[in-house]
């Protein structure tokens, strides 16, 4: 058995009411907590892509994606391993900047991390950071020295490296479709 780690699933679904709750309920009823979730439409406005992060070992993720494959609104699923995918998350930090000195320090850190300053007020700065978890976490750790007043994450989105896509036909995809076959 492989180790339990953060795993990313990309799921294409019908862009319809109730589908997200169907997908998220599957995770809870199989005993998994969703660590991160991001949803948006794709090139086809009728199809949404859900990126979900959960903790689990490889076998568990396999079983989870098998269960997802059974849901009728689900078109296809791809497990995106960290080695073979690019992952990004947008995080907004509202950080206390009580003095001009503190503000400068924060701006310097932001520059190093290539984070954008998107709001400045007398007592605070708001930073927008796009990166993978480790980078965002590193920034967060530094900013915590100044006191993070509020923080919001979009959830990780991920794409496979190279020219492979979630649309590729695989044997497994065919097998799921067999189960759903309506003839």
């Amino acid at each position: 058995m492989s180790e339990v780690r953060r795993q990313t699933l990309a799921v294409l679904v019908d862009n319809e009411a109730g589908v997200l709750s169907q997908v998220s309920r599957l995770f809870s009823r199989k005993g998994y907590n969703i660590e991160s979730l991001a949803v948006g439409t794709t090139t086809d406005p009728n199809v949404s892509r859900i990126t979900i992060e959960v903790m689990g070992d490889d076998d568990q993720i396999k079983l989870l994606s098998n269960q997802l494959g059974k849901l009728f609104p689900v078109h296809s699923i791809k497990v995106l391993t960290p080695e073979k995918s690019i992952r990004r998350e947008l995080v907004l930090f509202k950080v206390r900047a009580a003095t001009g000195e503190k503000r400068n320090e924060i701006i310097q850190i932001a520059n190093i991390f290539r984070a954008n300053i998107i709001d400045v007020a007398l007592g605070s700065l708001t930073l927008a950071m796009i990166g993978d978890e480790s980078k965002n976490e590193a920034l967060q750790k530094l900013l915590e020295e100044f006191e993070v007043l509020e923080l919001v994450r979009t959830g990780v989105v991920a794409l496979e490296r190279g020219q492979d896509t979630i649309y590729d036909e695989t044997k497994e995809k065919g097998e799921f479709n067999y189960g759903k076959n309506v003839l």
Partner: protein, 567 residues
């Protein structure tokens, strides 16, 4: 043609070939029942005493006929009363379309009278469910629902229709069933889930791998699961078993997937499996399970189960592979088709020595001998002897269920109706009623215990109302026998809340419902009662008094090694 939603619904049901509906009316579904009134010559409606009974009846109808069962209920409590029935159908992959109506659009979300979010409630226990808010989508939804219920791995589908939709009008074009896939939402679904309109073939490489495994195997073993029954693959499975020349263990849901009298059959496998089945699973070198998900009642301990063997799963549902037990190989596909393909590809095998070894273990259950009351063996032998061979058997859940399935030799898929996965006490009577309605030419019996029978015996009223001649056999031990058995064996004989000495007089109860009843304590009286019941031709209840401490043997404790028999 412009029609109301209610009429569109009825037209769609007729289009699907539905001639029987089980259900219960109420406020929100009144428009549909009003339309049903006009369809009286095409569609028969069976009014039950309780929605749960209707759900089980539709399920029993589906399991026994292989057709899609249909069940109606109103909003709120009507819909929630279906829930146990839906979950039962879901766990056992039974194709039933449940239809309820909800409050109108203006009342939705306002905690209106008899309003409930039934699509939310049934989401985890249906294959698919729908909330119809627009009459223009109704026909598409109904067509899709039936296609999904009966396709792939069958299962229940729920349609909730708003009351105003049943009154709203829309254009409706009748379409023969064969054209549903090339129209509307089903067309989209088809295009997405398959490249063409033909069901895909099982993968050639997967087939070849299995054939190599079969040829190498010295001690092969088969498990006949519920998939063989649902896929009506009994002929292909039997041919496959005979060709491999392997012993066949049968799961609870697999009863009838191969003839129980077939010399290769070793009986049930698992918690109450026969010694032959369980020991063979533990000593074989190749275990091929067809349509079986290795539930905890079959595999018991998933780690040690057949760990010496190469396990091969043949299943239509990709998600069942490696779910409970780790397998060495799998083939995805419909049992009938996969087995037919396999049968063409290999030569007759011979495993006489292995078979002889397996068959040296008992394939029958042992019972205690008991002097002052009937024994389960006496009752079941008398039933098997006196009732026609093709009698449909519906059971409830508990000791009587295990005894019946261990004892009877089922001949064909759909002959045994039992709640295997969900273990629903109270399933049997409704299921028996549904089966009799769907198979009027066959004898239908209902095997139950005093505990299970008390749960839904209100359906005796349905039996009387429509004169549905089901014969109920109550294995009356004045206790919740299976729970008591666990208490005896595992809980130091603390008989906590399992004694049922204050139950009703079942004979009087039957009579109160206008049926005939008899209490029997001897084999002679039992045989006379069975003969009387078969002759009588109406609902009949036979209350068979058995000993309180009678046990189901053999038994392996939950989660234990499959050969660790505790009795």
């Amino acid at each position: 043609m412009m029609m109301t939603g209610a009429k569109i619904l009825m037209e769609c049901l007729v289009e699907q070939g539905v001639d029987t509906i089980f259900g219960y009316p109420g406020g929100t579904i009144l428009n549909v029942y009003d339309e049903l009134y006009a369809y009286g010559d095409k569609v028969k409606h069976v009014l039950t005493s309780h929605e749960q009974g209707a759900a089980h009846a539709a399920d029993g109808y589906a399991r026994s006929t292989g057709k899609v069962g249909v069940c109606f209920a109103t909003s709120g409590p009507g819909a929630t009363n279906l829930v146990t029935g839906i979950a039962t159908a879901n766990m056992d992959s039974s194709p039933v379309v449940f239809i309820s109506c909800n409050v109108g659009e203006t009342l939705i979300g306002k905690d209106s009278f008899q309003e409930v979010d039934i699509t939310g409630i049934t989401m985890p226990i249906t294959k698919c469910n729908y909330l119809v808010r627009d009459v223009n989508k109704l026909a598409d939804v109904v067509r899709e629902a039936f296609a999904i219920a009966r396709s792939g791995r069958p299962g229940p589908v729920f349609i909730d229709i708003l009351k105003n939709v049943t009154a709203d009008k829309a254009e409706f074009e009748p379409l023969p069933r064969s054209e549903h896939f090339s129209n509307g939402s089903l067309k989209d679904l088809m295009q997405r889930s398959s490249q063409n309109f033909q069901p895909p073939k099982p993968d050639d490489k997967d087939i070849d791998t299995l054939i190599d495994m079969i040829k190498e195997s010295k001690k092969p073993m088969l498990i006949c699961g519920g998939g063989v029954v649902r896929g009506r693959a009994q002929d292909e499975f039997t041919a496959f078993a005979e060709k491999i020349d392997a012993p066949v263990a049968i799961t609870l849901m697999g009863g009838g997937g191969i003839r129980g009298r077939n010399p290769l059959a070793t009986g049930m496998v698992g918690m109450h499996g026969t010694k032959a089945s369980n020991i063979a699973c533990n000593e074989c070198d190749l275990l091929i399970a067809v349509g079986c998900r290795f539930s905890d009642r079959v595999a018991l301990d998933p780690k040690s189960f057949a760990s010496q063997a190469k396990i091969v799963q043949i299943d239509i549902d990709r998600a069942e592979i490696n779910k409970n037990v780790k397998t060495a190989h799998h083939i995805i596909g419909d049992a009938k088709r996969v087995l037919a393909t396999l049968n063409e590809r290999f030569e007759q095998q011979h495993h006489d020595e292995w078979k002889e070894y397996v068959f040296s273990y008992p394939r029958e259950t042992q019972y205690d001998e008991c002097e002052d009351s009937l024994t389960p063996k006496q009752i079941l032998s008398a039933i098997a002897e006196l009732c026609p061979q093709d009698t449909i058997v519906a059971t409830d859940v508990g000791q009587h269920q295990m005894w019946a399935i261990q004892h009877f030799r089922f001949d064909y898929p759909g002959q045994l109706l039992t709640s295997g996965g969900f273990g629903t006490m109270g399933f049997g009577l409704g299921a028996a009623i549904g089966a009799k309605v769907g198979n009027p030419e066959k004898t239908v019996i209902h095997i139950t215990g005093d505990g299970s029978f008390r749960m839904n015996c209100n359906e005796l009223a349905t039996e009387e109302h429509y004169d549905i001649p089901v014969i109920t056999f109550i294995f009356n031990n004045k206790t919740l026998g299976m729970v008591r058995q666990w208490q005896t064996l595992i809980y130091d004989k603390h008989y906590s809340q399992t004694t049922l000495t204050h139950g009703p007089d079942f004979v009087k109860l039957a009579e109160a419902y206008g049926l005939r009843g008899q209490r029997v304590c001897t084999e002679e009286a039992l045989r006379a009662a069975i003969k009387d019941a078969l002759e009588y031709g109406h609902g009949y209840v036979i209350d068979c008094v058995i000993d309180t401490d009678e046990m189901v043997r053999p038994m392996v404790g939950g989660g234990s090694h499959i050969t660790k028999f505790i009795v």
